[in-house]
């Protein structure tokens, strides 16, 4: 009797336990719906789409044409693509770019991979949080001049666009409710749509994350472990799926827009940076913001050299040496100073010991972040070549 009762209890427990399958369900309130094909892996959160500029394929294609069109500049010599080249992950391989009037800019051209996920868009301006606002700067800025569109030539430039037959079709397709109006507002929205659509999630690292265990070498895996270690501290500022702590997507409720001083300069030992390039301080005038810049994504970092906001570090090898030292020492000249002791330096830039093998592994890992599809796909390429 007792044995029977016990067996019944055990059987009942087993039946209760076995009658279901593990599951995970989501009610995402429609957040993962979009009229646009983002080409991001399953499970990856989508970027934010501005309410006044939702993504469409038509706008993306119009923006692609405008992005590669030199006629969109005062003297018809400069396109967005002049400083954002696909083969360099939409950076330009220069320390600092040159505008349409040959004026040399002060800050390095950033790569545009996954720029849609950036919480802020420029190197050090916390108020520029949409591409639509950021694009105003290269198009219309006067100091320094980039595209060089100004009050004197803006109608001329616009007329060039109006006169192009290809654009008549593209604008009508992108803005049918407006009858295909060609305006700077629509131009900016279309370019923003194209740049927003430049997603990059097909590097060997991504392939490994998706289960392809052959995608990364042993050296790259060792480098990955170093990258995500407290020894190196890299991931604190370059962590997350976009390898930047300044990341925003539509799932986020609290937005962080951090900037960091990495100890590149310490002019006169008072934490100063070169006058033309003082980072967040230029916007806030807060002394502790001196030399703070946004941590850019490390995706495709192999292709976006030279590095740092001023392009002053030539190679990944030098970047690692710089961080290992905990700052940069400039012994002579107007910028002389020991960046290691910059009083405003980020707490994570403390320096570390690294062997040659570890450095090699770390670099191999960084190279595994290169997305070959991103820099070769026709979808992101110059459409005028085929026309």
């Amino acid at each position: 009797m007792l044995v029977k009762a016990l067996l019944i209890i055990v059987l009942a427990m087993t039946v209760i336990a076995c009658n279901t399958q593990s599951s995970t369900s989501y009610n995402d309130e429609g957040v993962n719906q979009s009229a646009f094909s983002w080409l991001v892996p399953s499970g990856m959160p989508l970027p934010v789409e501005p309410d006044d500029n939702p993504m469409t394929e038509a706008k993306f294609q119009l923006g692609r044409h405008l992005f590669y069109d030199e006629r969109l500049s005062g003297n018809a010599s400069q396109a967005c693509s002049s400083c954002h080249k696909q083969e360099h992950a939409f950076a330009d391989a220069l320390a600092t770019p040159i505008g349409s009037t040959d004026e040399v800019l002060t800050r390095n051209s950033q790569g545009l991979a996954n720029v849609a996920y950036n919480a802020t868009l420029t190197w050090a301006n916390p108020s520029i949080v949409t591409l639509e606002r950021q694009i105003l700067i290269p198009l219309f800025a006067e100091d320094p001049v980039e595209h060089g569109i100004n009050d004197e030539n803006r109608e001329i430039v616009l007329q060039r666009i109006v006169d192009e037959p290809v654009y008549q079709r593209l604008f009508l397709s992108a803005y049918p409710e407006q009858g295909g109006t060609v305006s700077y507002d629509n131009i900016i929205k279309a370019i923003a749509a194209f740049v927003r659509g430049l997603t990059s999630f097909d590097s060997p690292f991504d392939q490994y994350q998706r289960g392809d265990r052959t995608a990364m070498s042993d050296s790259a895996l060792r480098g990955r472990d170093l990258f995500f270690s407290e020894q190196m501290e890299c991931f604190h500022c370059h962590g997350g799926y976009n390898f930047s702590d300044s990341t925003l997507d539509r799932t986020m409720a609290f937005v962080e827009r951090p900037f960091h001083n990495t100890g590149l300069f310490n002019i006169a030992g008072i934490g100063a940076f070169p006058e033309e390039n003082q980072g967040l301080f230029s916007i806030t005038a807060n002394p502790t913001d001196m030399g703070k810049f946004r941590a850019v994504t490390l995706r495709n970092i192999e292709l976006t050299a030279p590095y740092m906001h001023d392009g002053s570090v030539a190679s990944l090898d030098e970047v690692i040496e710089f961080y290992a030292a905990g700052g940069r020492i400039i012994e002579t000249g107007p910028h002389a100073g020991d960046g290691r002791f910059n009083p405003f330096k980020d707490g994570f830039i403390t320096g570390f010991e690294i062997t040659d093998q570890e450095k090699a592994d770390l670099i191999v890992f960084l190279l595994s972040l290169t997305d070959g599809t991103f820099v070769t796909t026709e979808r992101f390429s110059d459409p005028w070549i085929s026309q």
Partner: protein, 403 residues
Amino acid sequence: MRITHHRFVSTVLFLALPSWAWGHNEINLTPNTAVDAAMVVNYRSDSSVEKGRPWYVTGAMMGGEAVPASEDFSVDDLFITVTHVGEDNVYGLIKLASHQGSDAAFEHAWLGYRLVSKERSFLNIEAGRMAGLFSPANLQHSDSRLMSEANLALDVFLGRQYIDNGLRLLWGNDRGLSLGVETWQGEAFPATSGDGGGASDVFFKYQNISRNVSWSVGGWYMQAKAASRSDTRYESGHSHGVVVDDIEAYWFDGDTSLYGVHLDVQWQVSSRLTFGLDTEWLWQKVDGSIRDETRIAKLESEANGGWIEPSISFQRHTVGLRYEQMVLNNEFSGVAGEALAALAHLNNTGHNPTRSTLVYRYQIQPTLALRAELLSDKSLPQREERWLVGLIWEKNLWRLKKE
């Protein structure tokens, strides 16, 4: 005076009630003072996760002390225990322990007082840092379990073992029934301490012996509250010697309810042969929210898991088999649900974690045993086979001899 068999059994059970399970709270309330020690040394062919990688049973929030067993040689348990039972009905226990190479720490330090001690019942009050008495398995370590590794369900639902600062009232009678209530500060997973935290539980157990079968059955309910609970398993000084850097940070706020039923049967066929069966099943309900530095989503979970463990002992030899299974269901609401599920490793779509362990234990001498195990571990989606050999040493180092 003639003592009937029933009366004898009842008396034995009554005396045994405070020590109703192997492990930490085992105090024979006969006045005495003793020092005991134990050490478990194992060699494992593999671990359930790659060395240096964190362990996540996909679909469950992990915490507490639930780190995977180490590959290679490992001192899984090392402890020394001092127990004292005074003539004045005051008793207590202090235990200094190290697990898997962690720093030695006072794992238990508690005092008890027998408030009521009648012929047919008792009422004890116990307070301090102690293990929850609600589940017999919660009192066990590698030395006191038949298997070397902790039960998967306890690893997942209770962070291996619920040890906390708390207060316990325990009532029992000579018919084998005991009832208890415990309230906790909340310093152990799945609870947190401070504002919005804390835990409490109630439990019962009934033990009996009829002829040559001894058995016990019990049930319990626990509620734990958490505020800003994070996965602290691999934090410095708390990692059981496991160093893992890339832990994703997330926090849980909300309530966890746990229910459990357990059954233990020992059938002594002869003086040399015993059949055993131990089983426990736990159900968990979670209602709260999960967040990281930028996202938040509502989380409701229903999960269950447990084990069934038959065994057979012949003289000094014991062979046992433990089968464990879990079912983990999560429901997220909010725009960040999918992202947070991925971050916290809660996106289980159809994999019921299971694990089977075949064990052989040979009691070489009263203080020393040999253990060998074969495990088929599918607690993670990829199956893994591994084996273990180890030694268990347990000894009373000192006991106050009374005249």
